[in-house]
Symmetry: C2
Subunit: 192 residues, 2 copies
DNA sequence: AAATACGTTAAAAATAAATTTAATAAAGTT
DNA sequence: AACTTTATTAAATTTATTTTTAACGTATTT
């Protein structure tokens, strides 16, 4: 009996560790260092809020590291501070909805990318038009300006598209096009 | 006349530099260092293929740096080697279609992320089910296993969604939902 | 009010990443 | 075949990032 209990605990740990590793490994995509990714993944399996000391013990790192890591995770809105009567320590809980996380992250990033580039494109276009208007401009230069303009027009349409994608993700509209399927636990083909 | 010609050249350079800076700044999103981003941005405005020596002169960096940077850009498919009769040097040309670039990059990344995590989730689910099946498992442990399972089910549906998003981007289906608008140069409201 | 418990900032140390110079390899030319 | 030209790899250096230890500030308890 004791034997079996211990075995179950081990199984649970194996299960969680596998997912933690894989989350930590893929989280670099979201602009987060491996350690911070691992912290998030660890919190993902905690069903009650954790203190900085809990985290430091769990990961074997220093408290200031946890402090800054957790702030980073708060910045990208995937960890929240929660309040609980009676304790003086700060408590943190992971946001477990990956859709939230995804939307927020790419929504922000893409919007920023689009805006920044559109500003530069507009500025550049102004200059290029000026070159073309000027009758004194040499033929070769004019051709380059025209080619640049053409290219930038395409780039601009990409930026607009990106802006719209970001918006449709932030607003949730995208889920009308690509619905979220609740997967059926029965047919969980772990293929092979 | 000479005066004006020089002015036009300056304008062209200002125009290009503005866009180069902004591309270089936003390219970190695509998992590329600032220098490599800047190299791509520089190539973006070259209308004929460039050699490693051209690049090294343009950016004031060493040739090996250019060699590795250009390989990275080839890896993510936004620079291609082109062949030209008569020259012994390798020549490189930037892929200028940002949609290509975007599709390839996120398609690959997301597919990898989804696959990796799904594998871990399946593995974990197997273990967790084992725990629940075992009658000797304590109540507390059983509850944790159940909660984990529930969480992972949600995570799995996120991974599937991500896979589908990746596929719809790779296949181009997404453009039916979010069409590419050719922007009209007339109404180029550089707002304000 | 003194002592303690927390969290954060600052400086220092350790680690990792980017870049260069030097050495090697491969191919083309004479 | 010896000599060049070109690109790449390897080692060494520089630079940037991450992490820690130490110091600080603020709030809470006694």
């Amino acid at each position: 009996m004791e034997e079996n209990q211990k075995n179950s605990e081990e199984l649970l740990e194996q299960a969680e560790r596998a997912v933690i590793n894989s989350i930590a490994e893929t989280m670099d995509l979201y602009g987060v260092t491996p350690s911070i990714g691992r912290l998030y993944a660890t919190l993902y399996f905690k069903h009650d809020p954790q203190t900085l000391d809990d985290m430091k013990d769990e990961l074997g790192m220093s408290k200031p590291s946890m402090s800054t890591a957790v702030r980073k995770l708060q910045d990208i809105n995937i960890v929240k501070k929660v309040w609980k009567k009676g304790t003086r320590k700060d408590l943190f809980l992971a946001e477990k909805n990956f859709f939230h996380y995804f939307s927020q992250f790419f929504g922000d990033k893409w919007e920023r990318e689009a805006k920044l580039n559109l500003t530069a494109i507009d500025y550049a276009k102004e200059k290029l038009v000026q070159i073309l208007k000027d009758e004194e401009t040499g033929e070769e230069l004019k051709q380059r300006a025209e080619q640049d303009l053409k290219q930038l027009e395409e780039y601009r349409s990409y930026c607009h598209w990106l802006e719209q994608l970001a918006q449709s993700i932030e607003s949730g509209e995208i889920f009308e096009f690509l619905p979220i399927e609740k997967t059926n636990p029965e047919e969980t083909d772990s293929n092979k």
